[in-house]
Structures are given as structure tokens and as C-alpha cells.
């Protein structure tokens, strides 16, 4: 018998996974290159949010969860131990942080490529680009 907390958490997780699936369909089967770029951004966002969800921690008492930032400027050892108990996992956050910025840079590169393709071929539809020669 699962409790309500796990049930709601699983709903959240599965919605994100369905998002992953839908955006994967968009990346693979939509003919427009611009639509592919939009789908790719949604795909990377969903992948990032999955990583963050894995670092989440169950609440033991209500209100006992905190971001991984120590607020006390002069902590004792007990304060640090207590902080390590209530804070969420900082490692996925640190990885996702750089992934978002690099994702934007890569998307910009893809945008420039799409623009160049449009200048030379006059279309952004992959089926028509595949038929063109030269």
C-alpha cells in the first residue's frame, strides 16, 4: 500500500516522462525544422527536470525541507548536521545549471544553421530539402 505522498510524486514524475515521449515524437516526426527546435528545447527541459526530481527528499515533518544553502553565518557542527538532513541533493542542480546554459548556446547554433538552410533552399521543410539536389 503506497501513501499519498508517493502517489502524487509518481503522477508528477510520469507526466514529465510523457512530456519526454511527446517531445521525442516532435523531434523525430515533425517535418518543420523550427518545430524540431521547439521540441528539442522541451525535450532537454524535461530531461533536466527528471534529474532534479531524482534529488528530491521526502519530508519527515511538515516544513522540514530546504534549498541547499546554509543560512547561518556562524554554524556549529550540530547546525551543519541538521542542514545536511533537511537540504535537497545539490549535485543534480549543479549539473543541470550548466546544461541549461549550454543547451541555449547549442540551440542558437541550430537556429543559425536553420537560417542558412532557408537562405539557400527557400524552405525549412525537411521533406522538400531532401528532394532538392545540389
Amino acid at each position: 500500500m503506497i501513501d499519498v505522498f508517493t502517489f502524487l510524486f509518481t503522477i508528477c514524475m510520469l507526466s514529465i516522462v510523457v512530456n519526454l515521449g511527446i517531445s521525442l515524437y516532435g523531434v523525430l516526426y515533425k517535418p518543420s525544422l523550427i518545430k524540431k527546435i521547439i521540441s528539442l528545447t522541451i525535450f532537454s527541459d524535461s530531461a533536466n527536470i527528471t534529474a532534479i526530481i531524482i534529488g528530491y527528499v521526502r519530508w519527515r515533518n511538515p516544513g522540514e525541507i530546504a534549498p541547499p544553502v546554509l543560512l547561518n553565518p556562524n554554524p556549529t557542527l550540530e547546525d551543519i548536521e541538521e542542514f545536511a538532513k533537511v537540504a535537497v541533493d545539490p549535485l543534480p542542480q549543479a549539473l543541470v545549471l550548466t546544461a541549461i546554459v549550454i543547451g541555449l548556446a547549442v540551440t542558437l547554433f541550430l537556429v543559425f544553421l536553420t537560417l542558412q538552410i532557408y537562405r539557400f533552399y527557400g524552405t525549412t521543410d525537411v521533406r522538400r530539402i531532401a528532394k532538392l539536389k545540389g
Binding site: Y25, R58, V69, A87, D89, T98, I102, F112
Partner: protein
């Protein structure tokens, strides 16, 4: 038929993921009752005055992971960012945008222009506070840089591309600014090593606080304020690199399409 096969694969993917979650692939308690052991170590050593061997002297665990515990990762991620920007720029080689001084008639209505003038100051202030306070409160170089990059974009959209260039933010200036940022990151990474060589004691690349076998390091405090050694400098330079790198791309995207097509045609005729 191919589309049906693809749909089937995607449905299988979702089902497999659901199965993995249901059968305990993320641990049998979803979400877990406590953080994993590695994360616990990071949380304990991020700001720990009692253990000077491993601490990063930064109360924010994320920034201390990004620039201290896993600093080399972030350095190479910055390299990927740099290469993506360079790749985008190389597609625009040889394209020159014309200068214009008469820019009053371009852009949106005067109400929006006035509000944007006020807002740009707020944006720069928020970006600076996010980046320079990144080792104490949530924030850091990437956040501050992404925030600061929206200000030139807003000016480009509300006024015009020419207004932004008349302000002095031209392509070469921005490229120089970005290079200064990247150079600063490199210099900060080597600073502890240089200090160690001068003091004739062992030191490492990307070293922040003194270690038992390498007693040199950058100071955690200047006066009374906590700067966490190298972290403040990394955040500062990263903000410049990210903001200038994105702005140069927007400047190129803002060139009107007719001009580029004309230049491409001239280039084709020359060959």
C-alpha cells in the same frame, strides 16, 4: 508505417520508464528519506569552519560544487559553450551590418521605450546582485550572465539594433569582453598554482582553500566579507563571458534579412 513504428517505440519508452520507477529503480522509497551519501558529503563540506581540509568556504552548496568540487567539469562545459558561440559566429563570417544614426523613428511606442529605459537599470542591478552574491545566496555566474543578456536583447527589440550599436556595444567590443571573461576564468584557475610557485610550495590547478599538502590558497575573507576564495572571481568573469557571448549572437540575428541576402549575392558573383 514508419510513423506507427516510431509511435510504438515512444510508447514503449514511456512504459519502460514507468516500470523502472515502479520496480524501485530510483530506490524503494520514492522520494528517498534522506539524501545520498555523496550529496551528504558535499552538503557537510560546503561551509565547514571545523574542517579546513575539504571545505570550499561557501554556504551555497551548488556554487561550491560548480566551481570547487567539480570545477574541471564546469571549465570544459564553458569550453562547449564557447565552441557553440564560435560555430554560430563562423556562419556569419564576412557579413557586415551598416551603421545608422537616425534611429528615433524605429522601434515600439514611446511609453514602452521609457519603461524599458527604467527597466534596463533594474535588470543590470538584479544581474549584478545575482552574480556577485552567488557564493552566499542562490545565484552565480551562469544565472547572472543569462539575466544580464536579456537587457541588450530588450533594447534591441524595443529600440533597434542600430541604437544598441550606437551605445557602443558593437560586435568586436563584445567579442573582446567575452574573451576577457574567459581569460579571467583561466587566470583564476591558475592563480593558486602561480602563488604556490612564487612561494616555493606545492599547489594545484583549481585550488581554492589551503590543503594539508598544499598550504597556499586564496583568502576566504577580504576584510569582514566572505568571498570564498576563487568562487567570487569565477562568478564575476563567468557573468561577462556568458552575457557578452549571447549578446553578440543577438546582434547578428538582428541584422535585417535583405542586407544579408544582398551581401551573399555579391559574394556569389565574385567567385
Amino acid at each position: 508505417m514508419r510513423r506507427l513504428l516510431g509511435l510504438l517505440v515512444i510508447v514503449l519508452f514511456i512504459t519502460l520508464f514507468a516500470l523502472v520507477i515502479a520496480s524501485g529503480g530510483l530506490g524503494y522509497e520514492v522520494p528517498p528519506l534522506r539524501v545520498r551519501e555523496l550529496a551528504r558529503q558535499f552538503l557537510i563540506y560546503a561551509y565547514n569552519p571545523f574542517n579546513t581540509t575539504f571545505t570550499a568556504k561557501s554556504p551555497e552548496a551548488v556554487t561550491s560544487i560548480v566551481w570547487d568540487f567539480r570545477g574541471l567539469d564546469t571549465l570544459f562545459e564553458t569550453l562547449v559553450f564557447y565552441l557553440a558561440i564560435i560555430g554560430a559566429l563562423s556562419l556569419y563570417r564576412g557579413v557586415e551590418s551598416e551603421r545608422r544614426t537616425e534611429v528615433i523613428s524605429l522601434g515600439l511606442s514611446p511609453i514602452v521605450k521609457t519603461v524599458t529605459k527604467v527597466t534596463t537599470g533594474i535588470i543590470i542591478a538584479v544581474a549584478a546582485s545575482i552574480a556577485l552574491h552567488g557564493h552566499l545566496t542562490p545565484g552565480g555566474g551562469f544565472q547572472g550572465g543569462a539575466t544580464a543578456a536579456v537587457a541588450p536583447l530588450l533594447i534591441l527589440i524595443v529600440f533597434s539594433k542600430y541604437f544598441l550599436e550606437n551605445l557602443g556595444l558593437r560586435k568586436n567590443v563584445l567579442l573582446a569582453l567575452r574573451s576577457i571573461g574567459l581569460l579571467g576564468i583561466g587566470m583564476t584557475a591558475f592563480s593558486a598554482l602561480i602563488v604556490g610557485l612564487m612561494a616555493n610550495s606545492p599547489a594545484y590547478v583549481f585550488q581554492n582553500q589551503p590543503k594539508p599538502d598544499a598550504p597556499v590558497g586564496l583568502p576566504a575573507y577580504i576584510g569582514d566579507s566572505l568571498i570564498s576564495g576563487t568562487l567570487w572571481f569565477f562568478n564575476f568573469f563567468e557573468m561577462f563571458a556568458v552575457a557578452a557571448g549571447f549578446t553578440v549572437i543577438f546582434l547578428l540575428l538582428g541584422i535585417p534579412e535583405g542586407e544579408i541576402l544582398k551581401q551573399l549575392k555579391e559574394e556569389a558573383e565574385e567567385h
